[in-house]
């Protein structure tokens, strides 16, 4: 028979708040919806409860009862992140874990087939509690056979409850007080008035009529508790962290350029995180150096995020503070995600302003109208001659758009497809050399020569490149072809 366990981390938001503020232990503490006096109290600890500060009260009302009340908020993303962390921690004990979708802090675990790994299920349960205690979370574990019974028993116990017999499990669950379960307050009060205070008494109620008298929640719980609603374990799959790496062709020490390299790695990883409905919780940077062992730095934003700018600022600050021991030759990134809130995913999804699929369709229309070879992109090559240092390659579609490096303010040349022959330079009047446009005036300055040769398999090309400045101020890029004994204009600096 399959074994099932339920782990309950009670009042998870309250435990998270106390974990963040350990100095608040010993005081009345409340989790509030917002940090405002009129905000509602959502969770209270034992001390606050004894002072009659209850959930549902206004924060100001709680403060009026006890001025010592400590309160704070816990966001949905923090809760999601904690659920992900606990799920990852529990994977040490079983591969199949189903976090509750309704009640953060409740987890169902597959407890079957573990006899070879753990001495006993009791030990297994105790190790789970110890693991979570090391993460500063208090938990209870109930090991049995059914989803509802283990849930009810985990809610009512503080340690590990193990049941070897389904009947014993059912009998123990029947004795659990309804006040321990997550029940609508109105429904619970209505049941209490009828003298129904335990799970067993609740299960004794006839199923028909529950829906009309107490609503769909009570009906659903009754179905679960009685076993008439079959609900198998739906484990959350383990997710591998997303990684990226980049080899640099040279040792890089400039922090700004390194940040840009990380940016190129980070973009696709964030897209994949968003596809998983996650935001980035932790970023691990690995820097490989030439002569020094690699360094790993871990960064965590204030809360899980998909904001690139925020993450790159953190990367930049860490790299600045690190004092690189040498040139970086390889970078690697590893991201760990946590469940993202709907708002984060909505904002991330709304960011792309341009439809790349529409761009691809436009390119297809241009090819159809003007020919296949007109839509291209430049690709750098290794040739020595300027025209061999790049080529135009067909571009079928547009995928991601990103910059290659920080912007550098450099002058850009316009290169002519066919170099233009120039008039000969009169040796007797070297300063009166007029090029192709008389309006430019004569050449006043000639920088060079810069010898370039290539194409030896085709007879060989030998050129002496120069930059010519004219009287008007134009900068022209020209060369003297040694074999043809002729000057050519190859481009203009614009």
């Amino acid at each position: 028979m399959d074994r099932l366990a339920c782990v309950d981390v009670p009042a998870l938001p309250l435990q998270l708040l106390l974990r963040a503020h350990p100095d608040w232990r010993g005081h009345p503490v409340a989790v509030v919806a917002e940090e405002k006096p009129l905000a509602f109290i959502e969770w209270v600890n034992e001390r606050a409860y004894r002072l009659n500060i209850l959930s549902g009260m206004r924060y100001a009302a709680g403060l009026s009862i006890s001025g010592d009340l400590r309160a704070g908020t816990v966001s949905e993303s923090e809760i999601n992140q904690a659920v992900s962390q606990v799920t990852d921690s529990l994977r040490e004990f079983t591969p199949n874990i189903e976090p509750s979708s309704d009640e953060p802090g409740v987890f169902w675990l597959d407890a079957s087939g573990l006899s070879g790994l753990f001495p006993s299920l009791q030990t297994w349960g105790e190790q789970i509690r110890a693991k979570l205690a090391r993460e500063k979370l208090r938990a209870s574990v109930a090991i049995g056979f059914s989803r509802f019974s283990t849930y009810a028993l985990a809610k009512s116990r503080r340690t590990v409850a193990l049941f070897e017999d389904p009947d014993a499990e059912r009998a123990a669950a029947a004795r659990v007080a309804l006040s321990r379960l997550r029940f609508n307050t109105q429904t619970r009060d209505a049941l209490r008035k009828l003298g129904i205070e335990t799970v067993g008494q609740f299960l004794d109620l006839p199923a028909g009529g529950l829906l009309q008298r107490f609503g769909p929640e009570a009906k659903r719980l009754h179905d679960l508790a009685s076993g008439s609603a079959w609900n198998p374990l739906q484990p959350r799959a383990a997710v591998e962290p997303l990684t990226g790496r980049m080899e640099l062709g040279y040792p890089e020490t400039d922090v700004v350029r390194l940040v840009f390299c990380f940016k190129r790695l980070l973009h696709p990883l964030l897209e994949r995180l968003a596809e998983r409905e996650q935001a980035l919780w932790e970023l691990a940077l690995t820097l490989h150096f030439e002569d020094v062992s690699p360094k790993v730095e871990r960064l965590r934003p204030a809360e899980p995020t998909l904001e690139v700018t925020q993450l790159l600022n953190l990367v930049h600050l860490r790299l600045e503070a690190m004092q690189l021991p040498g040139g970086v030759v390889e970078l690697a990134l590893e991201t760990t995600g946590a469940l993202a809130s709907r708002e984060q995913l909505r904002l991330y999804a709304s960011r792309p302003r341009r439809d790349l699929a529409a761009a691809t369709r436009a390119l297809a229309r241009i090819r159809a109208e003007f020919g296949e070879g007109v839509v291209v992109r430049p690709v750098l090559k290794e040739g020595h001659l300027p025209e061999a240092s790049f080529s135009w390659e067909p571009l079928q579609s547009l995928t991601r758009v990103d910059v290659a490096a920080p912007h550098a303010p450099v002058l850009v040349r316009r290169i002519l497809e066919k170099p233009m022959p120039l008039p000969l330079r009169d040796r007797r009047e070297p300063e009166g050399w007029l090029l192709h446009d008389w309006r430019m005036g004569p050449v006043t300055k000639l920088d060079g020569p810069y010898e370039v040769s290539g194409g030896w398999w085709g007879g060989g090309v030998q050129r002496a490149y120069h930059f010519a400045e004219t009287q008007r101020g134009d900068q022209l890029w020209l060369y003297y072809d040694v074999r043809r004994r002729r000057w050519f204009l190859h481009g203009v600096v614009e």
Binding site: H316, A359, S389, V401, A404, H407, L411, E494
Partner: protein, 205 residues
Amino acid sequence: MPVLSLNAARVAAAVRAPSAAPGWGLGALSGRLVELCALGPSARLSLLVGLLWEAQERGEPVAWVGPCTGACYPPDLAAAGLSLESLVTIRLQEPRAIARAAEHLARSGAFALIALDLPPGTNIPAPMLSRLSGLAQKHDTALVFLSEKSPGDPSLSSLISLRLQSGKHRVSEGRFACSFEAIKDKRRGPGWSHEAVHHGPAGLR
């Protein structure tokens, strides 16, 4: 100012292309027909590359439409920081086809900036410019026409929203002040200017 704040400012400056003038920059040019003119020493390409970089940095596609007789030298584009992989380039035999190809791109709404490199003497029919103007506004695209003319020559059309005259002069060895002056601006009024120092390619002293 704390050191980290200074460095953060340096990163921010390095991340963004120099666009000091309020009338210049991708945001200021979006949705408009812009004519970037020059006759003589020009910095049209170099200044436009800054805009292309800015668009790519935002993750927005850009396109260059021009004749196949000449083009920006790709190694210089790479040196300026542009991603060549995502630089859509349309190379056409007929100068008259440049505007038509640009219309296809503008109609898709997928491009933040489309540069039309017009050979000297190229005219664009008024109906075509009218459609391009409408598409630029509709899709928030900057359509930048590169033309060769002096400040006294008429604009391509009255639909041109911003006309800039570009110039360049040497400031020191290998460094040039690249500038333009707004000789027509329907939004801010003419007369403003922008200047930035650029480094020449290797070998240009």
